[in-house]
């Protein structure tokens, strides 16, 4: 009994230490520091393409590294690989389980992955010998739904789950290499750092965690949100993290200052953030909301600079292509739209 009480006190004291240490380096705010730079001005993007073909809600999309192909997942039980320029469907992959919640494109372009309420991450080989797309591996070990997955390479993938853990898998053997435990709520989203050394996870415990992939450790934990974090992404230089939450706000946390630098919110926005993606310079943050819109924020000045209104239902996923040329939104209205 005595040790438990001592540990509790030590934990509280450490939390106070962290709060104090963060305050010590808080010599200004990002908004103050950015006061002198020119405002972005109104950002007006137009729908350039509409990708039609899914028959039910789209839950996820991910751009391929070539900035042309992208993959989407829908609860119609299909993964579709699209050529976003021609709008042609390159592959239409039927899934064993239609309850899909996430999909990912491998950087090589050879593989795609998906998963959901089946608690598994299924890997598909797009470049099989006979031209047919087949399941290459089924990664099964999570005891909760698969909320997100991201490839490190053709041989490794990271998954996040409703069982509160994230896992690094060896795709060839189909086994768990590392289990990242620490979140106290369902893990909803993950993103890999540009140098592939770290990943961040957002969860229903209202926190985001930074994980060192090879050391298998949580390095930093970021709080502040007042509800589930549904979406997470890295600022393009890898030094900051952006989160989107059911509390209707997005937040930017700097990794090296170890604290929140900005909150993106407006009193007129009262619905949850479902998805987010920064533009390639990091200046713009595109965030999808439950009210069918995408709001575009100036990340430095924390002002709303644009809106993408074009879907007839919740925007569930969003992605900016790696060359920054276009943004893709996916919706419960079953369509994907390409904007720039």
């Amino acid at each position: 009994m005595g040790e438990m009480e001592e540990l509790r006190k030590e934990a509280e004291s450490l939390k106070d230490q962290i709060t104090a240490a963060r305050k010590t380096v808080q010599d200004t705010t990002l908004q103050e520091a950015a006061a002198g730079i020119t405002a972005v001005g109104r950002v007006q993007l137009k729908t350039r393409k509409t990708l039609r073909g899914h028959l039910a809600k789209i839950y996820a999309m991910h751009w391929g590294a070539d900035s042309t192909l992208c993959v989407s997942a829908s609860q119609d039980g299909k993964l579709i690989v699209w050529d976003s320029i021609t709008t042609n469907k390159v592959n239409a992959i039927p899934l064993k389980s239609s309850w899909v919640m996430t999909c990912a494109y491998a950087p090589s372009g050879n593989l795609v992955a998906c998963g959901g309420l089946d608690n598994m991450c299924s890997i598909y080989n797009l470049k099989g010998k006979d031209g047919n797309v087949k399941v290459m591996r089924e990664l099964a070990a999570h005891t909760g739904y698969l909320s997100c997955c991201r490839f490190l390479s053709d041989t490794e993938i990271i998954t996040s789950s409703g069982d509160c853990t994230c896992v690094l898998w060896d795709i060839e053997t189909g086994t768990e290499k590392t289990i990242f435990a620490g979140h106290l709520g369902d893990c909803m989203s993950l993103a890999v750092s540009p140098d592939f050394k770290f990943f961040i996870s957002g969860a229903c415990d209202f926190t985001a965690k930074l994980w060192d992939i090879r050391e298998a450790q949580c390095r930093q934990t970021f709080s502040g949100h007042e509800s589930d974090i549904n979406a997470i992404g890295f600022f393009p230089n890898g030094n900051a993290v952006i989160t989107g939450s059911d509390d209707a706000t997005c937040k930017l946390y700097d990794l090296r200052a170890d604290q929140e630098l900005n909150t993106y919110q407006d009193s007129s926005i009262m619905c949850g953030v479902t998805s987010l993606a920064p533009s390639v310079s990091g200046r713009l943050l595109l965030a999808g909301y439950d009210d069918f819109n995408v709001n575009i924020w100036d990340t430095l000045k924390s002002e709303r600079v644009g809106v993408l209104a074009g879907h007839d239902n919740r925007v569930s996923c969003i992605g900016v292509s790696s060359d920054g040329m276009a943004c893709c939104t996916g919706s419960w209205d079953s369509f994907l739209k390409i904007w720039n």
Binding site: L14, R48, D254, L261, M325, N340
Partner: protein, 68 residues
């Protein structure tokens, strides 16, 4: 849940907090300056920010007429 596993969870939490407390932090002014610098340096190639001329937009059909 046994009191033993509660204890080991608590020990793990304290170890984790010690790790997170030991992180080296830079000043917010430096972090902010570097974020700004990155944005400004890469603004030119951010198509969503500065736009892209119609001719070089892969997602727009070029408006041209062919004389048949």
């Amino acid at each position: 849940m046994t009191s033993n596993s509660n204890l080991s969870n608590m020990r793990r939490l304290v170890e984790q907090l010690k790790l997170e407390a030991s992180v080296e932090r830079i000043k917010v002014s430096q972090a902010a300056a570097e974020l700004q610098q990155y944005c400004l340096q890469n603004a030119g190639k951010d198509a969503l920010l500065v736009g892209v001329p119609t001719g070089s937009n892969p997602f727009r059909e070029p408006r041209s007429c062919a004389i048949v």
